[in-house]
Every structure is written in structure tokens, then in C-alpha cells.
Subunit: 343 residues, 2 copies
């Protein structure tokens, strides 16, 4: 288990490569960054020298001289939430095999913390930034607006995006789910939500408006908690819902964890799903469709959001102003399954 501390001087520099290749340092630099503008002959010599010396460029020196890095900052409100895990996956797939790498900041649903992270990331001169909300503090927003790099806001689709945005209409998605419950004949729908961040709050408001407009609003059927979402919490919330409003006949859950928890709680109480209680979920992570009964859900395009966001960002980094459609609506899809399918 011993370990040697390797001498710093071991590591070859541009100048070493230049000497080895018999060219100047700048030619080596160019060979690495834009081989096409270097003569075939010089390029081959340089490449051989790099190979021989095992040279790796120093990103710090490069960042200092060029005033930019290959870092892409990605701010998410949570790392445990499966929703963002899927977004991350899309983003990572997109940067792979590019010279960029992603740095994640987790602001834990705190706008203030997010502001600090924006400031911190910006001080690193990132090539681009992806942020997961439109709910920055005024100062956070100002920082993004004046950022010297492209910025993509993801998940939501709202007016006044800072630079570019990719997402879907969260309220429309909730409305779709609520409409489906009505279509199935449910008349006393409830709503379960944990972790009342601004986005969850907007979805709740969307549900409320829809229910009111359709004459099925019952305030005692709306159960929320500021605590984090979890399967266990879904069970608790359903319990509370039934104790407050025993006549509830359907429930729209603000995410899959809650829906699965509610389903399990229904099972424990011997409440038949979908006959006595319809359950509709939001997001549709993989497990939902494998429950018994399979959960109806509004599928949100999480991974695609990640993919498109990084795509737009890379294009814009390559050439500022080159992205035409700067605001993408990826939509959402209602997946009708057994948990709302009653005879």
C-alpha cells in the first residue's frame, strides 16, 4: 500500500514537447487545438514527441491563458431524486467523446444556495452552464444574464428565460393527468405532494385551477408536506388523505415515489386500485410501469431534456448565436395503465 509522490518536474510541458519535436511551443499548442492549420510534417513530428514524452496538457495553464475552460456546470436541486438522475444521464451521454466535462452542483432546493453555486461556477470560467430552474434569486438571475458563456435553463418552460431553455409545460402535464382521472369517471380526486419547491407548487396550482374549473375541487383532498419525497411519505400522505376525506376516489401524485407509496398503502388498507381508488403518477420512472397494478403516469422527457440541453449548449459554445430554436418544448405523454383503468 505504499505510495510515492511523483516529482512535479516529471511532468513534461509544452516546451519539452516543442524541444523534442524541434519546433516552437506555439506550434505544439496549435497541433493540439487545431491540427488543420499545422503542416503535415510539423504535425507528425509533434504527435510523435507527445507520444514519446507522454505529454498531457495542463488545463489550469490553458484556462489562465485563454480565459476559458472545458468545464460545463450543471446545477441540480437534488442528486437523490430519480428525475435528475435521468437528466444527468442525458447530459453525460452528450459530453462523452467531446473535450468537455461536466461539473455538478447540488443546491438542495435552496435558491440561495443556488446563487452561491452560480457565482462559484462562474468564477471558474465555464464553457457553459445548465441550470435546472427558472426560480433563481434576482441576483442569481442577474449573474446568469451577464454570464460570459451560454446558459440553458431546463425542466420548466416559462417566459423570460435567460438565454436558452429546454423543458415542457408542467402545468399542462398535470392538467392532462387530472383530465384523465375525470375521463375515467373519478369525481373526487385528491392531490399528494411532498417537497414543495416552486415547481411542485406550480403543478399543485395547476391542479387546483383545473379541479375548480371542472367543479371537482376539494381542498381537504389536497395533502402536501415540505419534507422530501419518498415512498414512505407517499404512504403517510395517503393515510392523511383518507382520514381527512374518506370519500376520495382518485389521487394524483406529484411524483412516482409518492405514487408507489400510495399504492402500497392502498394495498395495506385493502382499498382496491383502480376500482375504489384511481392512482395517477407524475414523471413515470421505470418502476412505475412494473407495479401491480401498473401505474398510470404522465411521462416527462427527463433524459431527452438532458440530451437536448447539452446539444444546444455545445452548439452555442462552438459558435455563439448558432442555435436557432433557443426554447424547446419537449411535451409530455400520458401513459394509461391499470391503476386508473376501471371497468
Amino acid at each position: 500500500m505504499g505510495r510515492k509522490t511523483r516529482m512535479i518536474s516529471d511532468r513534461p510541458t509544452l516546451a519539452d514537447v516543442a524541444q523534442e519535436a524541434g519546433v516552437s511551443a506555439i506550434t505544439v499548442s496549435r497541433t493540439i487545438r487545431s491540427p488543420e492549420i499545422v503542416s503535415e510534417r510539423a504535425r507528425r513530428k509533434v504527435e510523435a514527441a507527445i507520444e514519446r514524452l507522454g505529454y498531457t496538457p495542463d488545463p489550469a495553464a490553458s484556462a489562465l491563458a485563454s480565459r476559458t475552460t472545458s468545464t460545463i456546470g450543471l446545477l441540480v436541486p437534488s442528486l437523490t431524486n430519480n428525475v435528475f438522475a435521468d437528466v444527468l444521464r442525458g447530459v453525460y451521454e452528450g459530453v462523452e467523446s467531446t473535450r468537455f466535462f461536466v461539473q455538478i452542483g447540488n443546491y438542495r432546493y435552496s435558491a440561495l444556495h443556488e446563487e452561491g453555486l452560480i457565482r462559484n461556477f462562474l468564477s471558474q470560467k465555464p464553457a457553459g452552464l445548465i441550470v435546472s430552474s427558472t426560480d433563481q434569486t434576482p441576483e442569481g438571475r442577474r449573474l446568469l444574464e451577464t454570464a460570459p458563456c451560454p446558459v440553458v435553463q431546463i425542466m420548466d418552460l416559462r417566459d423570460g428565460a435567460v438565454d436558452m431553455s429546454v423543458g415542457f409545460d408542467q402545468v399542462a402535464a398535470v392538467r392532462k393527468a387530472a383530465q384523465h382521472l375525470l375521463d375515467c369517471g373519478y369525481r373526487r380526486p385528491g392531490f399528494l405532494s411532498a417537497r414543495m419547491d416552486p415547481r411542485a407548487q406550480r403543478r399543485l396550482n395547476g391542479f387546483r385551477d383545473f379541479a375548480a374549473a371542472n367543479g371537482v375541487l376539494g381542498e381537504d383532498r389536497i395533502i402536501t408536506t415540505p419534507q422530501p419525497s419518498s415512498v414512505g411519505m407517499g404512504g403517510h400522505l395517503l393515510e392523511q388523505l383518507f382520514s381527512q376525506a374518506p370519500d376520495t376516489d382518485a389521487v394524483l401524485c406529484n411524483n412516482d415515489d409518492l405514487a408507489v407509496g400510495a399504492l402500497m398503502e392502498a394495498k395495506r388498507r385493502h382499498v382496491a386500485v383502480p376500482e375504489q381508488l384511481g392512482i395517477c403518477s407524475y414523471n413515470d420512472i421505470e418502476m412505475s410501469r412494473h407495479m401491480v397494478p401498473a401505474l398510470t403516469a404522465v411521462a416527462t422527457p427527463r433524459r431527452e431534456i438532458g440530451q437536448r440541453a447539452i446539444e444546444m449548449l455545445l452548439a452555442e459554445i462552438a459558435e455563439r448565436g448558432s442555435v436557432r430554436d433557443r426554447h424547446l418544448d419537449l411535451g409530455s405523454e400520458l401513459m394509461i395503465r391499470e391503476s386508473t383503468r376501471r371497468a
Copy 2:
């Protein structure tokens, strides 16, 4: 949605702050990095100047001059796997309110890819590195051994760790689970596993050895697939298990997704759990204990691994050689629940 590109020259430098405060640049630098060695008076002037100018240090310049950064590299094999989500959480909690930040590399269960990431991270002169395996390529291992920064290997506990390690005995954990199935009277236990990475493979081997030693090994009851793990996959694997070995009376799942999927599949087939089939899971993520029936599982200390790893790393960064216990075994715990509790 307009955006201005802020002039680079806008950004004040150390020299600007020094001039504003009427001291030298190095005094400003010291005020920031080690305020305690600067006189009260100088410190106050500098702090006021920083405030007035809105100065933020340039990490690239700092990295170049000092040959180190505030980056901690964290290599994980997957971002979607809940196991690592918990580890991440522990790590992020630990770096918060320090000057360090974490950069994640996802090597997608490919040792070759991991080697590339190690090389890439190392070129950034990180303050420390956390890697999620002991299964590096020889070259990857060599890179870690000669890394000029502390390294923590997490999850597994094996001989010959490179520098420091935090984990638990994965084979002992599996053995514990298998023993429990025998204790419950199950006699024909099966094993389900997806994504056969080296660690999953070692657990399978552990199960095999244990089963053989106890005279309950049935090769046709061991079902594996190289594909990624998921709830749906758990269902498929159980299906295959029953078609190959209909007399199977219990199943040990290599993680929670598979266990939940197996439970659902059992439900679909009207196989009673735990009476006709005992199910034991591995890892014990939150949802498992809320299933109906609740899943028995070996709980692995994922979050704590993250916490301890970052703790050790930070201590070692602060002072090389200061960490006494360089190899921590955090153990695992069998959580006995309904899915194996038969009359």
C-alpha cells in the same frame, strides 16, 4: 431575453485589490488563504477592498501557481443506480461549507473508461480522488498509486488498497442474507443478478460458495444477465428462474430493483410471498421497506461510506499522513421483514 457579454477586463484581480487596499498582492493572497497570519489592520483594509471591488479569485491562476486545485474527483460506475446516489449524497454533505468542490466522473461500469477518467482527472491536479472500485486496469491502478494526491477507494474492502479505503465486506453481506434464508427454512434458494460487474460477480461467487458449503446449491437457480438492473429486469429474471427451476422456494436478489421486480412478478403469478417464495434484497434502498410485503434486505452503509470517504480525504488533504485508520470496515446489517417471515 437579451444578454450582454461582460468585458473580461471588468473583473478585478488580486493586484487591483492590493492597490485599492494599499498593500501588496501577496498580502491580499494571504488574507484570503490564511487570514490568521495577516495583521488585523491589513486584513480589514483588504477585506474592505475585496468587498468594494467585488473581487473573486481566479481558480485557474491559483491552480497554475500552486500546482493544486480545490477539486475532488469522484469516480462512479453509474449515475442512475440508487446505490451511488446515496454515496454521492454523503460526499456532497461532507464538502459543503469547505472550499472544495466535487467533480463526478461516470465510467459506466467500464474499467477502460475509468482509466481514461483517472488520467483526465489527474491532469487537473485534484486535491483528492475517490474511486468506487478496486477493479482498476493495471495502468489505472498504477496511475492511482503514483497520484500526487490522496486517494480513497470505496465500497469494497479488499487487500492491497492503493492508499485509503472505506467499505464493507460484500461477500460477508451476501452470506448473511443466504444464511437468513436457510434459517427461515427455505431449502432451494435462487440468486438473481443483473449487470455482472466485478463486484456483483464476487457476490454471486460468495453465494455459490455458501450454498455449496450448505448443500443447497442449484446451478439452475442462478439467473444472471449482463444487462443493466431494473425493476422490469427483476420480473424477467424471476420468470426465467421459475421456468428453469419451478421448485425454487426463495430468492436472493443482487439489489433492490431486482427484488421489487421479483416481488411484483410473484404477485402477478399469484405466488405467495413469503409462504411459497421468500425474497431477500441487497442494499435496502428506501422503497424496499415500504413494499407489501416489506422486503427483507441486507442494508449496506452507502451514505455513510460517502461521508467517511470525504472525511478521510479532507483530513489527509489538510495534512498528509494524518489519517490513522486508513481502511474502514463499515459492516452491513440484515433487516428482517415480511418477505421472508413465514409461519
